[in-house]
């Protein structure tokens, strides 16, 4: 077989951590290779080596059979390697054409030359991209930005395309369209590496699958000859049960009711637009939507961190609108939001587990001094109960692995004994094992009669875990569906705003029949 890329013995360490250990990997010409591995298994590091961002400590790279040395992204581009990063590298204020043009070094003096436009249009037509070249990036939807990124590397003449988690931000329908483009590229003779940890996508698109685990190369298998279960075992290193529990509970009275809620985002645009829903005790309500559909603003509003424009938020028959975050917390609503960088909100990364435990109640002890003795005991309790792996209670949270960080965060939220738990992306970036621990923690809370709002990304997980799923699109409610009576496709269509089932049967969302709080009371 002819190989587009061969990697031999690639090793890269960051301090004591070996991100890549003696990795051998080959990409055949005209194939789609899926690179599979849990978080922290070294996928992104390896691809960054190929794109010239990192230099390997040892090892050699062969492109088309010739040994090469990649010292900069420019070298990588000259060798025909193009990378589409997970976080897009686009100039927000430029148009699509300008974004592509700035990287074309040998295309004459003028920014908007006719030949430049022609070249880009030709490439777009060849691969079947639909794109408005004069649209400014800041006005583009996520999927448009991604199309632009891919078109960009194709215009630079890349024959080897690396896509880092391209599907994370897309809906089911958009993923299908992306896969069509990738297949077309394969037909044109391009070689593609796609990084993902969604197994169904690996099965759908790839020819072969290479698996990494803890920075080590495990194996490459032909997709047709394997299945999801076998791949999981390769990835995790042992057999694992893939079923998520969903205990069915007796649902009690409505705990949190949201009526006609409107919230603006930081830029002053409407983020949440007249949304109605409620959560009962012993129930888990999922929130599905494309990234940036208002999930963050909704969570912040309920936790009292964001001003609302209109509407009511009622907790056990009492309005919580205008209450301070502290007051809301005392009421029994606890919010944990895992942002994209995982540490930005909810935890202070440089402080110890002990110090993070008391973040929300350090002020309750008497006197001017912080009560670290109680805090240390509480930290130890959380460590024991949730099996947090840490050298001690005094270890800075930053030094813990992702799963343990999230356990600490959830542990603190549960510690205060809330009756409404709002959790956004609690398994973001976690490997399979840690994810299951988190699901168990949430289910335990549910069994205790806590109402849970679960803002998630992975539809499969939400269908398995949540009792009901609420879908939002551009801040508008698209409907609340029962997990047992819906499909991924339906959710996908609701997420893009194609289907709206609010008030379909003439029933109003958001006002539970046995609510202790009438609409009139709220207006008074």
């Amino acid at each position: 077989m002819e190989y587009a890329i061969e990697l031999k013995g690639i090793t890269k360490s960051f301090g004591p951590v070996a991100a890549n250990k003696n990795i051998n990997l080959s990409l055949a010409k005209g194939e789609i290779l899926a690179l599979l591995g849990e978080n922290g298994s070294g996928k992104t590091t390896l691809m960054n080596i190929l794109s010239g961002i990192y230099m390997p400590d040892s090892g050699s790279i062969f492109i088309d059979g010739k040994k090469v040395s990649i010292n900069s992204p420019e070298d990588s581009g000259k060798l025909g390697i193009g990378m589409v990063h997970q976080h897009f590298k686009l100039v927000e204020r430029f148009t699509a054409l300008e974004n592509i043009r700035i990287g074309m070094r040998d295309a004459g003096r003028f920014m908007h030359g006719a030949d430049v436009r022609k070249k880009i249009e030709d490439t777009a037509a060849k691969f079947g991209f639909e794109i408005d070249l004069d649209k400014v990036v800041s006005n583009m939807a996520v999927s448009e930005k991604q199309t632009l990124e891919i078109l960009k590397v194709l215009c630079y003449g890349a024959k080897i395309i690396i896509l880092d988690e391209p599907t994370a931000v897309l809906t089911v329908q958009e993923i299908d369209r992306l896969f069509d483009v990738l297949r077309k590229m394969r037909e044109e003779g391009h070689s593609i590496i796609i990084i993902t940890h969604k197994l169904n996508e690996v099965m759908a698109i790839s020819d072969r699958v290479a698996v990494l685990r803890h920075g080590e190369y495990i194996d490459t298998v032909v997709t047709k000859e394997t299945n999801e279960k076998a791949l999981t075992e390769l990835m995790v290193g042992r057999k694992i049960e893939l079923n998520i529990d969903r205990p069915v509970m007796e649902k009690t009275h409505p705990l949190l009711e949201i009526r006609d809620l409107t919230i603006k985002n930081d830029e002053g645009a409407v983020a949440i637009d007249h949304i109605n829903f409620y959560i009962r005790g012993g129930e888990m309500l999922g929130v599905a939507g494309i990234a940036g559909s208002g999930q963050k603003e909704l969570c912040e509003a309920i936790a009292g961190l964001r001003k609302i424009e209109e509407g009511q938020m009622i907790h056990e028959g009492e309005s919580i609108v205008g209450m301070s975050p502290k007051k809301i917390l005392e009421h029994g609503i606890s919010m944990s939001f895992i942002p994209e960088d995982r540490l930005g909100m909810g935890l202070a990364p440089s402080l110890s587990i002990t110090d993070n435990m008391i973040l929300k109640n350090y002020n309750e002890s008497k006197g001017i001094f912080v009560d670290r003795k109680t805090a240390r005991e509480e930290a130890q309790k959380v460590i024991d109960r949730l099996e947090v792996v840490t050298p001690s209670t005094e270890t800075p949270v930053r030094r813990l692995s992702g799963g343990n960080v999230q356990k600490v965060l959830l542990g603190r939220e549960i510690k205060s004994g809330p009756n409404v738990l709002i959790t956004a992306y609690p398994v973001r970036g976690l490997d399979i094992n840690s994810s299951y621990t988190i699901y168990n923690i949430l289910n335990e809370q549910k069994k205790k009669g806590v109402g849970i709002l679960f803002v998630g990304e992975d539809l499969d997980v939400m269908l398995a875990l949540c009792d009901k799923i609420m879908v939002i699109c551009h801040g508008r409610l698209q409907g609340v569906v029962n997990s047992n009576h819906t499909t991924k496709e339906e959710l996908g269509l609701m997420m893009t705003g194609t289907i709206n089932i609010v008030n379909k049967d003439g029933k109003t969302d958001g006002i539970a029949k046995d609510s202790a709080f009438t609409d009139e009371e709220g207006k008074a």
Binding site: M55, D57, S58, G59, S324, L351, D355, K360, V370
Partner: protein
């Protein structure tokens, strides 16, 4: 092909850090020795005088210690104050300006204190300096909290504004200007009446000024404040992640205002103690503590005990350089500044070397 690249060291061993620092200082001293040698001075002799801050074989040795302490006290307090704001990730680089404001307001009281009891005057000077510096600090913090202005620019500008204010005062002969000597034709800063000059505890000929005792006490207080109090805890959280602080229900704005007030007020206090101890004011009264304090705070990694020790070392260096330079006609104070610069620079390089290493790229063994 690039064969070498930089890698952060995995662990930080205190022994290695000290070794690198020692090598760095040695190298800078060697460079300094070459210059001394070229000027015809015996470097060993010079360095000997420098590191003993002119104590050895000096009949007036106690004067050396007093001189050293006059440099040490303002540097220590300023560095502590800056550490406080840096811990909150508030880049207060306006130490110079805040110091000058304090010095000016303290001097206003000092020049008008004829006949007042010494204790009352000095106390008033300290209070006035702390309040005036604190107000400027809180104003800059308020702009940051309210309009999200860039505090680095704002505090930097204060330095220049105050420098020109004090130069204006120092160069303007006018009826209102009680800062200047009346008996001098040329504009010249006057000296404080005795009522405004810092006293102390006499130990033989040596006088231990109250300012030294205040500075040491402040070190202990700041240490406890940062490490054990709720307000100290709030500073760490805000510095680590202001989003988290907000999420935890802290009012970030209030914490920023409060901490900046304390930080600036401490610098004001340093200024009041300095002008009172020297009995006069000038446009070089800061002795650059606003800048040197930044270096002290960062070299100490914002740890209070380390700030104390680093302040001593840098003060020894500064005073020692000056003391030694006065004994040789061939060199002047500029050489002292040069040597100080060399040593500080090499310490920073050593600090970098202690945290990073250069590694060689290896070829694959099995390729």
């Amino acid at each position: 092909m690039r064969r070498y690249h930089l890698v952060r060291r995995a662990d930080s061993r205190i022994g290695r850090t000290i070794a690198f620092y020692a090598v760095g200082i040695l190298v800078s001293l060697l460079i300094g020795a070459v210059i001394l040698f070229a000027l015809g001075i015996n470097p060993l002799d010079y360095y000997g005088k420098m590191f003993t801050i002119g104590l050895v074989g000096n009949r007036y040795g106690y004067k050396s210690i007093e001189g050293f302490l006059k440099i040490f006290v303002p540097l220590l307090i300023t560095s502590l104050a800056l550490s406080l704001s840096f811990k909150m990730r508030f880049w207060n680089i306006g130490g110079e300006g805040e110091f000058l404001i304090g010095a000016i307001t303290a001097s206003v009281i000092a020049f008008n204190s004829e006949g007042m009891p010494n204790f009352v005057t000095v106390l008033l000077m300290c209070l006035a300096a702390m309040i005036s510096s604190g107000i400027i600090g809180i104003a800059i913090a308020a702009l940051k909290v309210r309009f999200n202005t860039n505090e680095t620019l704002m505090t930097l500008m204060i330095n220049y504004i105050m420098l020109y204010v004090i130069r204006y005062i120092g160069e303007t002969k006018a009826d209102w200007n009680f800062f200047l000597r009346e008996d001098s034709e040329r504009p010249k800063f006057g000296t404080f009446p005795d009522s405004a000059v810092m006293t102390g505890i006499p130990i033989g000929q040596f006088k231990l000024l109250w300012s030294v005792i205040i500075a040491v006490a402040l070190t202990v207080i700041v240490y406890i404040y940062l490490k054990y109090t709720k307000q100290g805890y709030e500073i760490s959280v805000v510095g680590d992640s202001s989003a988290t602080a907000k999420y935890a229900g802290m009012s970030v704005g209030k914490i920023v205002l409060r901490t900046m007030f304390i930080s600036s007020a401490m610098i004001g206090l340093a200024a009041a103690l300095t002008v009172s101890a020297s009995g006069t004011i000038s446009d070089t009264v800061t002795n650059n503590v606003g800048w040197t304090g930044i270096i002290v705070a960062w070299l100490s990694k914002l740890s209070v005990p380390a700030v104390f020790i680093t302040s001593i070392l840098i003060s020894v260096l500064q005073y020692g350089c000056q003391a030694a330079a006065t004994q040789y006609p061939a060199i002047d104070i500029n050489y002292a500044d040069l040597l100080q610069g060399l040593i500080l620079f090499s310490v920073l390089v050593a600090d970098f070397a202690a945290n990073f290493k250069i590694v060689k790229k290896e070829e694959a063994k099995n390729a």
